[in-house]
């Protein structure tokens, strides 16, 4: 238990971790269906303290990969290494922010955010609450700390969830399309909030999205994923200056990076519509499935 509490304490030397995914393969076998290979020979590195974004067409295995990294699912083969050691089940060093809100509806915002420390101990409840209020203040939610999640708007729920994850100071924070379903304005604001929090904490972040602009605005490095079975196709280093503002999206460098990602992603998008060879779908004949 003490190794767990150190995260909540924040008294370890550096909370930032480096994540390495080695040759992961994931095959789903559903009775009555052809086995589907969701991930094939998927390798990538999420560098320490960097914001790495994974972009890919929908249904390419992004969430599967996120679940494997978080420890909710196991790969058929391959390994997830955190700071050089293989990861096992889910633990507070890899916190995931989900697509749909995963705040516990029966807990107030404050109780949600302090849930981690309350179960693993290490710091007192009042210390945890102090930390929680500090984080909530940064995202403008202090006055909603005693409200239930259902009383909050979608964007506020997402912010509360970011605070809940950040309080744990995870070695890697996994964000699986966290801003999906928000309207454009809220989404842009959320991206700015995230960058602000990233700038302040410098945590290692692994952000998954299907939106190119979101990826470009946030990322240090973009990884483009192929259609099913998913693997990394292209890596684009995004050297846009930080702190970033929305004006950056009008710059030439941005356009150049965007074109690069677009090209790569467009090809995969076509495959998913079956217009190019190799477009695999669940429950249909998939030439990639060998076993």
């Amino acid at each position: 238990m003490p190794d767990k509490s150190e995260n909540a304490n924040g008294n370890t030397a550096s909370p930032k971790g480096e994540l390495e995914i080695r040759n992961i393969e994931k095959i789903f076998r559903i009775p009555g269906c052809e086995a589907t290979m969701a991930l094939k020979d998927c390798s990538l590195t999420v560098e320490r303290g960097k914001l790495t974004v994974l972009v890919g067409p929908s249904g390419c295995g992004k969430t599967t990969l996120a679940n494997i990294i978080a420890g909710y699912d196991t790969p058929t083969s391959g390994q997830v290494m955190l700071d050089g050691t293989p990861t096992r089940s889910a633990s507070p060093d890899r916190i995931m922010v989900f697509q749909e809100t995963a705040l516990w509806p029966w807990m107030t915002v404050k109780k949600n955010v302090t849930f981690g420390p309350s179960v693993i101990g290490g710091i007192t409840q009042s210390e945890a609450e102090k930390k929680a209020m500090g984080l909530l203040e940064k995202v403008g939610l202090v006055e909603f700390s005693d409200n239930y999640p259902a009383q909050l708007s979608g964007g506020m729920q997402r912010r509360a969830e970011l605070c809940r994850a950040l309080l744990m100071e995870p070695k890697v924070m996994i964000l699986d399309e966290p801003f999906r379903g928000l309207d454009v304005m809220t989404r842009e604001l959320m991206q700015e909030y995230l960058l602000k929090l990233y700038g302040e904490t410098g945590l290692t972040m692994f952000f998954i999205t299907s939106e190119i602009d979101e990826a470009l605005f946030l990322a240090d490095r973009i990884m483009v994923m192929t259609q099913l079975p998913g693997t990394i196709k292209t890596i684009v280093e995004v050297d846009l200056p930080r702190p970033r503002e929305f004006s950056v999206t009008a710059s030439e460098a941005y356009a150049k990076h965007k074109a690069k990602v677009m090209d790569s992603l467009y090809e995969e998008g076509l495959k998913s519509f079956g217009q190019l060879e190799g477009g695999g779908r669940e429950c249909t004949y998939n030439p990639a499935v060998t076993s």
Partner: protein, 271 residues
């Protein structure tokens, strides 16, 4: 733009009436209820031949008034309420943990679910003869039958509630370092409360159905028995008083259950 209107105000009673029935929906409901009583009155007075044995609402109200002064009437309330309470509470105490266990532990469900599904289709009233053989007194037999009525519903609801907890809610708790015990008490149990509340709501309704029927068959007291004895005595107004009383009793119980469920789920009644 200010125009002063110096119209004469109508009397207070009219104003109050207008205020209540400003809501068209309420007015319609009021008309329907009044229409029902008028038709009943007219029907009993000879408009509908099939209703000639039924006393008019005016007589029923007079008889009802007399009932209120008889100790046996209130005793019937007490008897029925206690039977419902015993059966219902026992069903919650046994049913909620059973449903939670079935939803939480795969092995436990494998053992219990087939047997549960085998017993569930048997209607509570089909248990009456066996129940009389099982239990030493009529009282326990009836309480047992009401227990059966609420039991299957609550178990099924709790089991469904546990099974439909969004995976993310449990997964994220694991990530945050919660132990299986903490996940059960702090995530699974509160997430199931809405289903428990639904089970209780449906269960209380079934319990009243069952207790009335059981009293008519095997009871010696209670609102069901009161109604049945009024029938045997050819006291038609008494039958209707019994029916109305059962309706009120069911309503009061449902309301009590609703208050309990609201209290259990502060996060649900927030707007």
């Amino acid at each position: 733009m200010a125009i002063s209107v110096a119209a004469k105000k109508p009397p207070v009673a009219v104003l109050r009436f207008k205020k209540i029935f400003k809501d068209k929906g309420k007015l319609r409901g009021f008309i329907a209820v009044m229409g029902f009583f008028l038709l009943w009155q007219a029907g009993s007075m000879g408009l509908f031949p099939f209703m000639k044995a039924i006393p008019t609402p005016v007589i029923v109200i007079q008889v009802f008034w007399d009932f209120l002064y008889q100790p046996v009437y209130w005793q019937s309330w007490m008897e029925s309420f206690l039977r419902v309470a015993y059966g219902f509470i026992a069903a919650q105490i046994i049913g909620i943990p059973l449903g939670l266990g079935m939803g939480w532990n795969r092995n436990f469900k494998d053992f219990t679910y087939p047997l549960f599904e085998l017993m569930r289709p048997i209607p509570p009233l089909a248990w009456v003869p066996v129940s009389i053989l099982f239990w030493p007194t009529n009282e326990t037999s009836i309480a047992f039958i009401t227990f059966i009525g609420a039991f299957f519903t609550i178990v099924l609801n709790v089991l469904g509630g546990v099974s439909s907890i969004p995976k993310e809610l449990v997964n994220s708790a694991v990530s945050f370092g919660a132990s299986p015990r903490q996940i059960f008490w702090r995530i699974v149990l509160p997430a199931t409360i809405p289903s428990i509340a639904t089970g209780m709501m449906v269960g209380i309704g079934i319990t009243w159905n069952v207790v009335i029927a059981a009293e008519m068959i095997a009871g010696n007291a209670g609102l069901g028995r009161l109604t049945w004895e009024a029938y045997l005595a050819g006291h038609t107004a008494g039958i209707i008083v019994g029916m109305v009383s059962i309706g009120v009793a069911g309503f009061v119980s449902s309301y009590a259950v609703k208050i309990i469920s609201d209290w259990l789920m502060p996060w649900k009644k927030i707007f």
